[in-house]
Symmetry: D2
Subunit: 495 residues, 4 copies
């Protein structure tokens, strides 16, 4: 059995269902830490489990909504989960976005599988371009890797963001060279990489990781121009799961206090220490001049993937409407007007994302990529509108959202009855249901999933200024000036 | 020669070019009034002429950009101008919107031909539906009419908005029954209609008008449920052209003061007094229960047609960038940032419109109609973002935009040289060019074309509240509530 | 010793310092519950303690900034803490607001003593007005109470918001009459009240509570028209402390993870069961026609008290600037621009509050009350701008804010060194300091103090719609219409 | 008679009333141009006259509202018009702002007298400071000048903005040295100045002008550091009145079409060619190091003077409410909500301005100056909120605002009756009144007074970026950082 076959040996049985997926995570020897302690079996850790559940929905949707989540791949000539598909027509991106919105609706949080999906699309075309110029065989390697992944139906995580250290310096100029992931050694079997990747969504819940450079590189950064795939349990990898708002509430509270007891996101810091990657899994090694197009293509895909937040928006709008109903004020004109405003903003995000998918264009490898301008515009709206939707949701929720007793108080013999007596809203509404809905709004606006709905909307796939730079590049200002001057009667020769 | 043939006799020669079009407007005996006086030959009136020029661009673009503006019509089995085309695929609506944006860029104003275009699409499907239910032959009549129109390449205006009078009363309840257009008499040849239509874009520059009801009707309003086509010079029609900001500047100033000397919009009040319509040109007569779907389809088409404003936005962004360049401040970070913001808002509008076109769906007649939710969302953004783009353009323009001397002062021997001396900006920039660009920004933000860029963006195709009502209808709030409750753990049986 | 003297016996020793205050909270037998358990000594509960610390700052500031926090009271003719002062000149309200902003800056959270302060001002004038009409002696009772309170320097909490039950029904119409606090019995010594008050800020940290009706009442609600003062440890009172975002982080994490380890807010549900109030401490009993002016005056005072949020804004702006500095990007123009925007919004809130203080007017009792329109405008801005400031702070913080490991990971031998290696930002910045600042931004935007900075800004002193109703009442629309009509040339008689 | 006495000879008779004022403008030999022609008697020019009327209201208000507009001046120990008063207490600035708002309400436009007023306040303190350092006698000269002006009750205009030419160069570096006003010659009687001042509000309607430098100067710019007072009809002065939106509508239309037939603003370019200024009227000559404090003090005063726009806001809100009433939709909840929003924004501006007046501080001369931060914040809000108020006003107006016939059509026998028939709104509302109100909204949002309400709000007293620079300077970011770090637990030494 070759090295590569050994690496894939664990994945002989296709992961077919959500349960298969959850089981597939057990028994792996990974270095995972959370709150200062090693987590021997992450899938059974109560704080981590909701993020596993969210990822599992990407399998469940394939069973329940194959129209959205199952697609034929020309690469493996089979029906596969869309999260492993390279888009080859606008309709692929359109369906991808509909699937993402639906998953947002089902989980109310980040389901974590889009980074890997967008990494796949990106690697497909960048490896093709490198080979076309240099005669290398990265594209074939990548296709072979992807075929195996499609067959096994594994979760591939994408790892891009380096720690960056002093931002005024290039990778090779950093005092500590590991501040950007790089090749530290090569032998006849493969390469060894060291460094770290930050903000890694769902990494602990993945099976494989594709690591990629995080920014434009120069020739002196050649060793940092590296793309490859590793198993998440490869020796040398350490995961430190981030502390997030209300992460422990599921432990010290319960399902009501949690707001969304079932689903949550997950982010880790991944440290790479001399991690071995066999050549078969190396998709770029030294081609520094392709780093920028890799990053641009990835962000173009990934910025549109934030359409998922409209699914979260659907949940939050529904929660706000439920809160108003439970409070007995749903018929007030200002309540209805705020729900309309929330919907308008949510659908504006959706439309920006969808327009860019419909207007996607192919690159040389045949992969389709979202329209770059529209993808940036879409993500830029994502850095704004969810915050306003959240503000309006808090308005509709009322102050009780942040002053409510714990569900444990409800269970207490002395104060439980008092709470039931005084938190009674409209007739026929269970006090616990009212609390559940308010906790869900808390969860999404200043709680556990506010991380995914707000902060991640701000910074994921690039912070607002990154989009503004791209918009500035694509805005065709000289053409716009020429149009204005013509109408104003300025003679062209005068410039 | 039948009555109908007589009516079409003037249009034997296809209007092929922009010049043909302008010539086709001469020599008609229409009752046109402006500022208290009869206008014998509107095309030669200096205030009206820029609006004729804008309409003429809808012909010119067919020559210059046939990819956008020429399309094959299955109805007449020929290549026609897209402004006479019934969309039969999403791509038709996508191309329509690209054409509208391009015309916005070319004119910097309202080119007036979209109301008629959207009336055509609407009549196609509504006549089909009525016939399917009632066994009438409206659809064939309409197709026959449209074939002639396509062959002649005429401008069809759409006339929808009635004066409405007391808004708390239905048409048949009004003290003056003419406050909504209605059938006052029928004979064996046709019907006679009276009433008025307000805010009629480009009416004087059209060849034919399709009139339609403006709102949902009840059975008692049967005589008001009427759709038909009339020549603009039909006996009984009177046009009163509206007074708009800076309309006379082209007369008392000159091309520099005008800002956009060549192009402008046009709106009229049209009065109908016993206007005869032969049955061949009657497309609805009494089917009150189809008024609401007619209005909804029309507004769904037409709200997306406001994508044209992104073309105006392109011009205004270009003008603001030019002003900054002429002022020598284009490199300042806050200037660049404002241009990015303007672009971001402009492209957000574009994306909303385009998403709804791509996601259009067919109705029974085979015509495709934009996605209703997205069309409303798009138009709602149009009621907001152009105002912010205009505000930013004024910021970049600087105060000189409103304190500049007239171009006539430039021509004066005493003060002309003083102006040239003191209005000199950056080296190499002509004072007149600087003035031209500032006048263009004035024109689009508080001048003649502010009507089209701002106020019309607010009210055209329905005021903001109209969109909010539609968004409320389409927001699927019960599904959203159900999603939220499921995630919150509220049991479905509890509602 | 009279009943009243007995009630005040514990407060013989003036609470002079912050330490005195903390000690004064010990050894009281109160029914306090949190997360399902009785809390025997709240001051020593680690989750509650930060809220005690914040309240204690209202004592510390009196020592450190007597210019702001010490004032001469004509009522007791002595120097007192401003939190017990009835304002008798605009300068009193101006200084109050400066003190509130400074305390916001010192604590970064809600210091909880303003409700009682604003209750004092309100009761001063309302008791005066009732007596003037009815010949009662409420005002003297109130002054006597206040003199004792000033001498003892106690914390008075204000208790206003009733549970309200079915919002379409008046208090006397509720199925459960306790849904609004009311008199259930009277004897020769005093009254007995039952009901509950929600969202009670700092109640557990207070010494006395003044309870007041929450809305306009009618004659049938006479028993609900009751104002009085009770010791927080009076028999029949139960406190259920609310669960808030990240409340337990100080327990399961540590000072770094907490973000603001020292200070937090506190909200409780207080249940009243047959609580006795001697007549000396009853300040309204049945005068239902004064409920609305009581509520209006209280909200007018209290909406302006939200100037404290500008102090929190100062902290958040400073934190965002620090984060940018630690990230090494503070010189970027977009960073500076965002800090300016945050400051602009923060100072706009401040100016609205201060204008209303300067333009305060006296009522019959001699107490000064903020300008009502400006107070509503100020609070309405508080329901908007902190959300945008928080959004911008998240922008400047970067994504690390929500993906960072716990401080416990830092202490772990295996991963601690990895975190120090990879989270290193600009040279010379301690990794822990970077984490501390990011945790503070998390704390204020989606963490523990987001409750105070955001949700409380939305709903405290009345939700947005409550301000809009008041603005509508005070907007003098008829005068505005008359002005417009005069300029437009509409003759007045035509109206 | 001395030179100076000669210069004041025309002003022996105090201008007591609005009529006196209008008469005082006749018979002056000024070089005034408009639209390429010399204007022999500006006061009788129909386009200029409305601006004269607006200025005249500054006299009328002194008769009608002496509480606001008459004040005792210590300088001349007499009761004077507040527009000639140096503020010596916060109440002076508070009353000034109330007067400005009231004049905004009365005129709906710019009444033009604030620049001079703010120039007076500025010169008072700057001349004092220069003398204190240099032993010059500018302050006495200025007091003598001001006494005469107060006695005569003249209009003093302020002239600050130079053309600036190439903005990257200092005054002395410009190719054409006249691009900043400067001293070209001195003799024993006085100085001679050349150059130009742009955007001069109400210059033609003034009696005297105080010219001042426009920005920070260096020693090489010594000849540009000049302040002085000249009669508006001094030899060597030329005025070119700017072309503004709809300026000629009063001529080619009539009072209805004009919207606001009585009042308008005015801006001119003033050219100075060897204009003589006797030393008695020179208040700075070479003290380049005081140019920056002069500019800062002037802008601090003047940015707050934009409180006048809240008076215009009152008119526009009233007009929008009237339009809704005439349309019969005033009871709709969304209409009321928009009026509340407009009011909220308008009062927010007001509060920013008033807070800065109340918190004004004295400088060495005894003059009080608005709080600098709040004045900048106030003006910055003025660059935003009027645009949103105007947008909402257009929303309430409806589309008829821009499609209405001219009033001349109303007078036409053929179409007049048709207009009256079809523009009838709610019962009992005159069609003409409806048109008047809509024309007023047009006037203020895209018409003649949009210049004053919008563009001038953007650029007057400094464009938005100028305020942001000042806010950045005053934001005390180091203190804010220190506050944040303390709460976060960062040790100060680590900074």
């Amino acid at each position: 059995m070759s090295d590569v076959e050994t690496l894939w040996a664990d994945f002989k049985n296709r992961i077919a269902t959500a349960d298969d997926y959850v089981n597939s995570l057990r028994g792996r020897r990974m270095n995972v830490f959370f709150m200062g302690e090693r987590v021997p079996e992450p899938v059974d850790n109560p704080v981590i489990r909701p993020s596993v559940n969210a990822m599992a929905e990407t399998y469940r949707i394939a069973s329940e909504r194959p129209d959205l989540a199952i697609v034929h791949s020309g690469i493996s000539d089979s029906q596969i989960n869309r999260f492993l598909h390279v888009p080859t027509a606008p309709g692929d991106l359109v369906n991808k976005h509909e699937m993402q919105r639906e998953l947002g609706r089902r989980t109310g949080t980040c389901f974590q599988r889009c980074v890997g999906l967008d990494a796949i699309g990106t690697c497909h075309s960048v490896t093709f371009d490198i080979d076309a110029k240099n005669g290398t065989d990265y594209h074939q390697r990548f296709l072979a890797f992807l075929k195996r992944a499609q067959a096994a139906n594994v979760v591939i995580g994408g790892a891009m963001t380096d720690p960056k250290g002093d931002r005024s310096k290039a990778p090779h100029q950093q005092t500590d060279l590991d501040l950007f992931l790089h090749v530290v050694r090569r032998d006849d079997k493969g390469i060894y990489v060291s460094g770290a990747k930050m903000h890694q969504t769902g990494a602990v819940n993945s099976h494989w990781l594709i690591f990629m450079p995080t920014m434009r590189l120069s020739e002196a950064d050649r060793d940092w121009a590296v793309v490859g795939a590793v198993r998440v349990d490869a020796p040398g990898l350490t995961y430190i799961v981030g502390r997030q708002t209300n992460d422990t509430r599921i432990v010290d509270g319960g399902p009501v206090d949690a707001g969304n007891a079932q689903f949550a996101g997950q982010e880790s810091l991944i440290v790479f220490e001399n991690v071995f990657v066999p050549y078969a899994h190396v998709f770029m090694d030294g081609e520094w001049d392709y780093a920028s197009s890799l990053v641009e293509r990835f962000t173009t895909y990934h910025r549109s993937s934030y359409v998922c937040k409209t699914g979260l928006g659907d949940v939050l709008i529904g929660a706000a409407a439920s809160a108003a109903e439970y409070n007995g004020v749903e018929a007030a004109s200002h309540i209805k007007d705020k729900l309309v405003e929330m919907t308008h903003l949510n659908e504006t995000i959706y439309s920006s994302c969808m327009a860019g998918a419909h207007q996607s264009k192919p690159v040389a490898s045949g992969a389709y990529i979202n329209d770059e301008m529209l993808s940036n515009v879409a993500k830029h709206n994502v850095t704004r509108f969810p915050y306003e939707i959240a503000r309006l949701a808090q308005d509709l929720a009322g102050g009780l959202m942040v002053t409510m007793p714990s569900e444990k108080d409800l269970q207490n013999n002395e104060v439980g009855p008092l709470i039931r007596k005084f938190l009674q809203g409209r007739d026929g509404v269970e006090v616990t249901d009212r609390m559940r809905i308010l906790r869900l709004i808390e969860n999404m606006t200043i709680g556990s999933n506010a991380v995914g709905y707000l902060t991640e909307s701000m910074h994921g796939a690039g912070s607002p200024q990154a989009q503004r730079i791209q918009i500035a590049r694509g805005m065709k200002i000289e053409d716009k000036k020429a149009r204005a001057r013509k109408l104003a009667g300025v003679k062209p020769s005068e410039k």
